[in-house]
């Protein structure tokens, strides 16, 4: 029994250094932010800030816009990353090998630089416009299209990596077994590959959602001025309008949204591991 107890104490002891760091550097400031969000300008407790963010039409628009961009971006990232992962998993062609070597690179490019390069590439007088002619060019920069594109650019490597590992985890004999009984490529995908990798997709969605919903640099430099992504709006309330409380309440709101998705992920993971146990 004492060995068990020792194990428990040791476990908690080992977690403490990083957990305390987390507590001090993140959890405590989070609590402070939550507190600020619950105080009005006079420093009294009140729901004013939340009332504001839920009644101000501008913020409602921003919330809708943020959800739109986040969901659409997640959608495209998933689709494209899934496509690339499938290609890398099942093709042994020359291009697949090359892409396999290249696809991680964007993950290593500092975010500011990527946005900068992106703007220069796609702006109305940018290189693409010069190559194909301005008239043939759809507006990309200062357009939600551009924002979604850069989100795709940023998130494809990470997502592809996750999905690829899930696909590589599907044994060949499962695929071949399915072909053997007569499944077409499409049926193979719908009935086997998809069901056997959707859990990893949930993981991917969680991280995509969290990353995109809180983003600042890309929407600030690429999106239209209104409606804004919540990250930009929060920054504006904080440093332009001097509305610290309102900006905190926006942060808390974004946190709750992300947490909801995070809990979904945790829940699906738990379900998964329970099934494995049985």
């Amino acid at each position: 029994m004492s060995r068990l107890l020792k194990g428990k104490v040791l476990g908690i002891g080992l977690v403490m250094p990083s957990f305390l760091t987390l507590l001090v550097l993140v959890a405590y400031p989070v609590m402070m932010s939550v507190r600020t969000s619950l105080q009005n300008r006079a420093g009294e407790w009140s729901w004013d800030n939340y009332r504001y963010i839920f009644t101000e039409p501008l913020i409602s628009q921003n919330i809708r816009h943020t959800m739109f961009v986040t969901i659409i971006s997640c959608f495209f990232v998933l689709i494209i990353a899934y496509g690339i992962a499938l290609y890398l998993r099942f093709s042994t062609r020359f291009f697949s090998k090359l892409i396999n070597k290249l696809y991680l690179i964007p993950m290593f490019i500092p975010g500011v630089i990527a946005v900068y390069g992106f703007i220069n590439f796609y702006r109305n007088n940018g290189w693409v416009a010069r190559l194909i002619g301005t008239d043939n060019m759809l507006p990309i920069i200062y357009h939600v299209r551009g924002l979604i594109m850069i989100n795709v650019w940023f998130n494809i490597p990470f997502t592809t990596m996750l999905l690829l590992s899930a696909l590589q985890g599907i044994p060949n004999s499962i695929i071949e077994g399915a072909r053997d009984v007569g499944a077409t490529k499409w049926q193979l995908f719908i009935r086997f590959i998809l069901p056997l990798s959707y859990k990893t997709m949930l993981v991917a969605i969680t991280f995509l959602f969290m990353g995109i919903i809180g983003s600042f640099t890309a929407p600030f430099l690429i999106d239209r001025n209104a409606p804004q992504m919540l990250g930009v709006s929060m920054q504006q309330h904080f440093s332009v309008f001097n509305e610290i409380g309102q900006s905190s309440s926006l942060a808390v709101f974004m946190f709750l949204l992300s947490s909801a998705v995070g809990c979904f992920y945790i829940w699906s993971n738990m379900k998964h591991s329970k099934k494995e146990l049985s």
Partner: protein, 355 residues
């Protein structure tokens, strides 16, 4: 009997240079042919070529009367059972079995009926709702077999289907497979590297080595008349000692055996352990009992002789006739002598003791 599967001049060379060369096999309807050979010899390559998962570099594959060499797997009238990860983990047993029928858009009632039939065949009635992870390894392989049978394949392909299971289960499933085969008159191509499995299950065995066929024959013949030193070594236990061949006979110590093939010079002499017998009479070989091992219904006795070590199998009831450390005399009732003739193949001389 009509030929159900024919592989003609199959070659498949991988980029590494390995692969199989010039493989020809015919399997008659209702026959079970086994591909046997050491790891890496190309068994799986041949099997997967038949299944359509490997594109042969050369050769023709026919199933029934049809040339399927260029047909995609999903269109081939074959079915495959793998060593493991056979079942689809996200589907219940029922769905695993019903899948191919659903693809064919069969009626629900028909599907249920067929699934029942298949489950009954593999003695797993009632497990429809289980997931593969809730089944033991042996049960999973049974379901995999059932799933393949539901395809009513013209040829059933099995790639070491039982090798991940433990000995007892392996025995059980082998027998079951044999029974089902007899019942359904299945044509099968079976891959294994386990010679005991091959001997016990096959109508004919194809022994492969390094991408080539060494011998095709019935189990008894493979065991008794191995076509090459390789086959002799690979199948069953075999003692090897040196002998000396002269026109008038092959000599091992005092023993002389007929030399019908007319081998000359030094030869490798193979003796099955059961062909080593205790003998009081002359001529005989003197040996010392070095080890006695009870292996169930028979006993393995290790003898030290001046030619080296000899293993002898005796009946468990005769265990009292040997005693550790004692000197005994043995004779060899049957030997096979091998000599290099060309590169790989060996001239073989079979001889019985002339008492």
């Amino acid at each position: 009997m009509s030929i159900q599967l024919s592989v003609e001049g199959l070659s498949k060379i991988y980029q590494t240079g390995e692969g199989v060369r010039d493989i020809s096999i015919e399997v008659a309807k209702g026959e079970l042919v086994t591909l046997l050979g050491p790891s890496g010899c190309g068994k799986t390559t041949v099997l997967r070529s038949v299944g359509g998962f490997v594109d042969p570099s050369e050769g023709i594959i026919r199933i029934g009367d049809r040339d399927v060499t260029n047909v995609v797997p999903e269109k081939r009238p074959s079915a495959m059972v793998f060593q493991s990860y056979n079942l689809w983990p996200h589907m219940t047993v029922y769905d695993n079995l019903a899948f191919s029928l659903k693809l064919k858009k069969k009626k629900k009632s028909f599907i249920t009926e067929r699934v029942d039939w298949a489950l009954n065949l593999v003695h797993l009635t009632g497990s429809e709702k289980k997931y593969p992870s809730e089944l033991s390894g042996g049960q999973q392989q049974r379901i995999a077999l059932a799933r393949a049978l539901l395809l009513e394949p013209e040829v059933l392909l099995l790639d070491e289907p039982f090798s991940a299971l433990d000995a007892k289960l392996r025995h059980e499933l082998r027998e079951e497979l044999r029974e089902i085969q007899a019942e359904q008159n299945l044509t099968m191509l079976f891959v294994t590297h386990d010679q005991e499995e091959a001997l016990s299950i096959s109508d004919r065995i194809v022994v492969m080595n390094r991408g080539k066929i060494e011998q095709v024959a019935q189990p008894y013949e493979i065991y008794h008349k191995p076509a090459s030193l390789f086959v002799a070594q690979f199948i069953g236990r075999m003692n090897f000692i040196k002998g000396y061949a002269q026109p008038d006979g092959i000599r091992i110590d005092q023993l002389i055996f007929p030399n019908e093939r007319g081998l000359i010079g030094e030869v490798a002499v193979g003796i099955r352990p059961e062909d080593v017998k205790l003998s009081e009479g002359k001529p005989s070989i003197e040996a010392k009992v070095a080890k006695i091992m009870m292996l169930g219904h028979y006993v393995e006795v290790t003898l030290h002789t001046i030619f080296g070590q000899l293993k002898m199998f005796i009946d468990k009831n005769e265990i009292n006739t040997v005693e550790l450390g004692r000197i005994v005399h043995v004779t060899l009732t049957r030997i096979q002598s091998f000599q290099d003739s060309n590169e790989n193949y060996l001239e073989r001389n079979e001889a019985y003791a002339t008492i």
